[in-house]
Symmetry: C2
Subunit: 202 residues, 2 copies
Amino acid sequence: MTSRNPQQTRDNLIQTAFQEIHRHGFQGMRVDEVLRLSGLRKGAFYHHFSSKTALGYAVVEEQIRPLVRSVWLEPLAGMDDPIRELPRMLDALPERIPPMMREHGCPLNNLAQEMVDQDDGFRQRLLEVLNEWIAALETMIERGKIQGYLREDIDSRAVARFIVAALEGCIGLAKVDRSPEQWSACRSQIAGYLETLRPVAG
Amino acid sequence: MTSRNPQQTRDNLIQTAFQEIHRHGFQGMRVDEVLRLSGLRKGAFYHHFSSKTALGYAVVEEQIRPLVRSVWLEPLAGMDDPIRELPRMLDALPERIPPMMREHGCPLNNLAQEMVDQDDGFRQRLLEVLNEWIAALETMIERGKIQGYLREDIDSRAVARFIVAALEGCIGLAKVDRSPEQWSACRSQIAGYLETLRPVAG
DNA sequence: GATAGAACAGACCAACTGGTGTGTCTATAG
DNA sequence: CTATAGACACACCAGTTGGTCTGTTCTATC
């Protein structure tokens, strides 16, 4: 019998809940099922979380936010020329992400689209993560301008927002028609779009 | 007391259900609430539909599909130069769609993202609608090629898919951060992308 | 090693949820 | 006018859902 480890118990609940939310949405996620999968009881659950919603918030903060950072933010750090390196990063993406994300799409966008109109707590937290992502892209674009890789008259924020929108759109489309093989085609179009940001006179 | 009108009763249920699904998702939609809003009873409901899921299917076929056709397909019919006319259409879009769509986003994409992994009946029907949309764009692009408005070496299907993906992505993003005013910025980026499809030597 | 509080187990519950069954009314064909 | 089937109303239900309550066990601290 493993000794008590409250931190591990809490993590267990959050990770299991994350997977269930990813599969069925937050409304479709069942507390009892999370308990069954994690081998815990009601007592444990409501000791660590005040409600199902509180667990959902924790999943956003402690699972989705770090995941977005590692998948989308970190690769941006050392990027010089976005036009050349972003498509390359998108190529390597399918191998970098957990298999679950290829099946069920982006956890951030899934949960956001579902819960934004249902609960303001979700909206605030998910919007924070989304804005962090957009801001990181914006920073990269600004840097690209300074280094002469990008035109200086482009609207960095608008471009950053569009990149995120296009990515989420492509992921969502691939999820619906279950065509991961179309990802490269999608990447090519994004690469084409990025070319519009290239300075005219090199 | 209004006389009986089964067709109107059925439409009433479908339209009310459509709004409730749009607001809360299919899983969040409650049969009892639809009944309350439409002023009908369980007897009426299960006379016209065999289950909640059957109602959902009817909503896709009889509400979402026609809506997609009128909003996205019909404006494509008379288009000659997509690069010039598509952005113009996107400008006029906010006034052409019902206000509900500005709040809650695209009913097609919302329902698709939610239900694709939950129910194969939804997946098939929603995929059909989506493919009809993509096919219409593809046709327009092919026409644009022939008429010399677009480069001939572009992958029509990939471009069509990306346009849909970008649109759904932008709508989804606007839904999350509730910034309809960013729509024009988003439109500009799409317009920029479309420029990449322009023939080189006019 | 006593003890207080944290970390659970497990039984229980009220509200809700989709769905059923029976009966009644109404339109329509003959 | 009457028979018949469609179009509902209404009472009812079994299973599920998130959540509570009480009690027990572990563990850190003095």
